[in-house]
Symmetry: C3
Subunit: 358 residues, 3 copies
């Protein structure tokens, strides 16, 4: 298989100059790619971020390694010493693997409305459809099959992968990445219940996405009902996330795959939402909140902290018995209260269990 | 940013005539858009449906408001008084924001099979592919990149958003909305286990969708194995829902985002399924059942009512301790039973806790 | 509605010869389609795999039935007797309903890069885009709107349904089925946290899919960070599954809809993962593990077995009370321990509950 294009190679010294860190050993070592401690060989640099893998460091055949100073002595290989090995590794990987940039210009069969404004430096692939009044900024890369609705705006250097959809009036900032199949701006789930059925409420707000936002494959973000749905700068969204209308996601918040966020939720800055968590409508989550994967959040969490709510895994047999106990906890608590009452009668001075059922 | 097209403006009197309600104050007030109580200003009408926001009503600078009669005195603004403010608001929003209707006809690069029957009044956008024998009804709007498989039928006035896919033999009724990336008619997950691996079972049923059904972005509905998968009239499906083969969803049932419904489930009429709920295969859910978001339903629920099954959220530290307790509930119950037994020996007439462990 | 094309009809004898089993009754009975015991009539064959439906067998008007020998006496209809009726039924259904095979060749408006190698026997539909250096094998069927990225390889006879996306460098084996909207090879969710925000880590691994793998509609499989994400032969993936970077799914493992699998998880062979289960990152699941739908797996499961972790469903009212009890289990356990202590003081020889709180 032909390899994806890379930059480089670079010497270890050149890498240190570009990405930071102090070289120990042969700074002329040539590096062309990153790899794991286990697999790296000739021309490859690996890294140790987690001390748990120090044994792998000792055994590694990598041409060079990135390590924290306290682990520098564990290897005889040429090394880049830094206090943040994982960050340095990310910088090196970016240096060696720049994003592919297709040539600017629009494919002959892209359908760009005559009133749309697409920068000359943008790349617009085959099968893209861009609606009336839409704007696409400098250096954007719009992959095959993307549909950009009327009056939408895409900021400079943003990349939109195949078959993603921006409904009309969607706003996306600069340097974003929108992965394949993502849908921004579909109608929010808003209906009034009437005697004769559901009455749809027009969703006239927009989706507004800040700068440097990543949106994963097949993630959906609904447009607002009246106000906009807003994703702030530097938010990172994984795949298959559903974000309801009028949600606001704060800057730098990271959300893992399969999370569902119901309408009008506000999530603060610097939050971390674990995979498959589900957040009920109209909840407010403050800055710096971490939520464990799989947790259902049905009340506001104004304070920073780490929250969880996951039923513990068990063997099916034991789970079955325990689940019955859970459903009958009321009864068990009543029995404990009754026993405490009897005990208090028998031993009035005893500490027969606090003061009964609460 | 240029605004999306709207209808109007209308006077408050005209709005009352079109949408119902009684005008109090200046019926000549011009209204061009709906907005929230907080943001509405000149030319905008807001509404109070939830008494919790009555303070916002008092402070609102809206040109007019929609209120129930008991709140009419809270505002000096021109107002539309009605017993159902939210429904009236929905009607007004629809009046002012009619769905955009692209011109009829097919784009030059739409690929419509010669044997397909597409109504002259339908709009078929660029990059649409319509297969052999398919039918598309009067006034339909088929957006870019939609694939309609052979022998499928789409009823009048149905709108299909970009890149949605109808597999062959799919039937969709009138006045439906299918959002971007939705997939109707992919194979159900049916396989027979053999000694040498899985043997695929052809899925020869169809997906049959009634009238006035909404289907959200990236929602998937599998075709039936032998019988059809059926979504009845007026059902409303949010984004990222998965519906397995041979499921039947009753009329007017509303399903929030991220719900998973396994094969052969039957859901009655007028049900409400909360976000991320999961319904196991072959379950029957009766009419009028409401299920809380995040609940796993593993048994049939024939009776109307509200059901839930969500592990309560906690701080991570406390959750950890509690989770261990949950796993050991068996043991705790045994200890309570033992204590009760001892108590009965000590105090035979006492009420030492019902009659032991159950 | 015109019917989908089928093969046949065949006599029951011909079916037995092709699919196995012993004919009892008139082997000349003509069979053109499979159907359920309830609905089958003239020209249709039904099957009984689950003895629970034996009453339906007795009442069935099917032209022929597939039964195990112990149920053969329950029907007077011509029958195919076999020890595995469900497997035989699958074979018969496949015989009568061969997959539609569009004619080979590429549609005029497919965009195939000049350096791509597409087999002459492959069918490439309208609106398909195939990138530089990509390879598409013999007999493949690539449906409308599919995007196949540069340097990707698709093995012989694999079918890719509309609007699915393969990012560059994706490898798919022979005889796979990839359903509509599936996305293979989007970037994994890998970022380093820095003082000034998230730093993206280039995802330079690939997605590598074996032979005879099914991938459901709107399922997403992320490319590896350094190593590849691997789906082994005969794995079966339902719709809307999310698979993170560097995951490995073992051969023959079946995964139901809406499952989320976080990065670097390893799942063994012959596992069954129930719908909407969620598996945390870096977990190892051994061969032959079954996980109940809706379960969150946050620790490795090296041993085969059946595991579950689902909060039991209840009425909302009762659930509310029970949920409070769950959150206060710590306190209840402390009260039981206190009561036990008091009891031990009162009845030193009694079995007042093992040895206290653990």
């Amino acid at each position: 298989m032909p390899a994806a294009p890379t930059a480089g190679p670079f010497t270890l010294d050149e890498i240190a100059q570009a990405c930071g860190g102090r070289v120990e050993g042969d700074g002329a070592t040539m590096i062309r790619q990153v790899n794991t401690l286990e697999c790296a060989g000739e021309g490859e640099i690996a890294f140790l971020a987690n001390p748990r893998y120090r044994k792998q460091l000792e055994l590694s055949r990598a041409a060079a390694v990135v390590v924290a100073s306290e682990h520098a002595a564990l290897t005889a290989a040429p090394r880049l010493v830094t206090e943040e090995p994982y960050v340095a590794y990310a910088r090196i990987a970016l240096l060696l693997n720049p994003a592919a940039t297709p040539p600017p210009g629009a494919a002959p069969d892209a359908r760009i409305d005559a009133t749309a404004a697409v920068a000359a430096s943008a790349s617009v692939a085959a099968r893209v459809v861009i609606g009336a009044g839409a704007r696409v900024g400098d250096g954007c890369v719009i992959h095959p099959g993307v549909a950009i609705g009327a009056r939408s705006a895409v900021g400079p250097r943003t990349v939109i992968h195949p078959n993603a959809v921006l409904y009309p009036d969607t706003v996306v900032g600069a340097d974003c990445v929108i992965h394949a199949g993502a849908v921004l701006g579909a109608d929010g789930f808003g209906m009034a219940e009437t005697g004769s059925g559901w009455l749809k409420i027009p969703q006239i707000g927009r989706v507004v996405v800040g700068d440097r936002v990543d949106i994963g494959a097949n993630t959906t973000i609904d447009r607002g009902a009246l106000d906009d749905t807003v994703i702030e700068d530097d938010a990172k969204l994984d795949n298959q996330i559903q974000i309801g209308h009028n949600v606001r996601i704060g800057a730098r918040t990271a959300i893992a795959g399969c999370v569902g966020i119901a309408g009008s939720v506000r999530i603060g800055r610097n939050c971390k939402i674990g995979g498959a968590a589900m957040i009920s409508g109209h909840i407010e989550i403050g800055d710096g909140v971490t939520i464990a994967g799989g947790t259902v959040v049905a009340k506001s969490l104004p304070e920073p902290g780490v929250y969880a709510g996951v039923y513990p895994l068990d063997t099916m047999d034991h789970w079955r018995r325990t689940a019955v106990r859970v459903r009958r906890l009321d009864e068990l608590a009543a029995r404990v209260a009754a026993a405490e009452k009897t005990l208090r009668a028998l031993a009035p001075e005893g500490n027969g269990g606090a003061d009964g059922d609460q």
